[in-house]
Amino acid sequence: MEERKELSEEEKKRIEEAWDRIADKVWKKLQYWKKHNPKKYRQFWREIRELEKAFS
């Protein structure tokens, strides 16, 4: 179904732009949580820290 292949420059550009757009949405949501749902915001970062700890 999904195997590694070489990407064209156009595909690479499209993927980079997709990362950028998703990053904007994630960042906005994080800022929203920080202001309006600090519990969720803290939980988000806590889960990341716990995951990172296993690899540090």
Partner: protein
């Protein structure tokens, strides 16, 4: 060569790093870096269930568009080169096994990680999970379960190098 079936939590660490580094935050991610460089020595695998969970998170929690999610998923496939594991077993067979497990051991959490466990078992994959309950209670049911630290250690043994020097 053994294949490692990663749980969604670990895989999502990869996606988060790629996302947040674009915002100047969370630039150093040991999780994401590990997945990328270890994929040159270890063979990773995912199923349609893994993809469904990543899509759900990106769509439901962050409202990402379908096209963008498909594109970043493609980026992940290119960078990490995992194998796609088709699930030939029927739902009846998979959930039959889950029912057997929950009859035997009390499980507090919902069954999604058990679904991953059965997929790993049925396809002879090493299941890598951060779910402590699965680690603790399901080893008798399927031996090939590793937590994240065990995966890292196994990689170090295979590579015979400190992964920090290999990044």
């Amino acid at each position: 060569m053994e294949k490692f079936y990663l749980d969604t939590n670990l895989l999502f660490g990869y996606f988060l790093k790629k996302i947040l580094e674009r915002k100047g935050s969370y630039i150093e991610s040991k999780v994401s870096d590990f997945i990328i460089y270890s994929s040159k020595k270890l063979k990773y695998a995912f199923s349609i269930l893994t993809k469904a969970e990543i899509v759900r998170k990106l769509k439901s929690e962050f409202n990402a568009s379908r096209n963008d999610i498909e594109d970043v998923w493609k980026g992940f496939i290119i960078e990490v080169s995992p194998s796609y594991i088709q699930i030939p077993q029927s739902l009846e067979e998979i959930y039959g096994e889950i029912v057997n497990i929950v009859f035997e051991v009390p499980m507090k959490k919902r069954v999604t990680n058990l679904e991953h466990l059965i997929i790993a078992k049925k396809n002879n994959l090493i299941f890598v999970t951060g779910d402590k309950e699965i680690m603790k209670k399901c080893k008798d049911f399927y031996k090939k379960i590793l937590d994240y630290k065990m995966l890292r250690k196994m990689y170090e043994n295979i590579n015979n190098l400190n992964p920090k020097k290999d990044g």
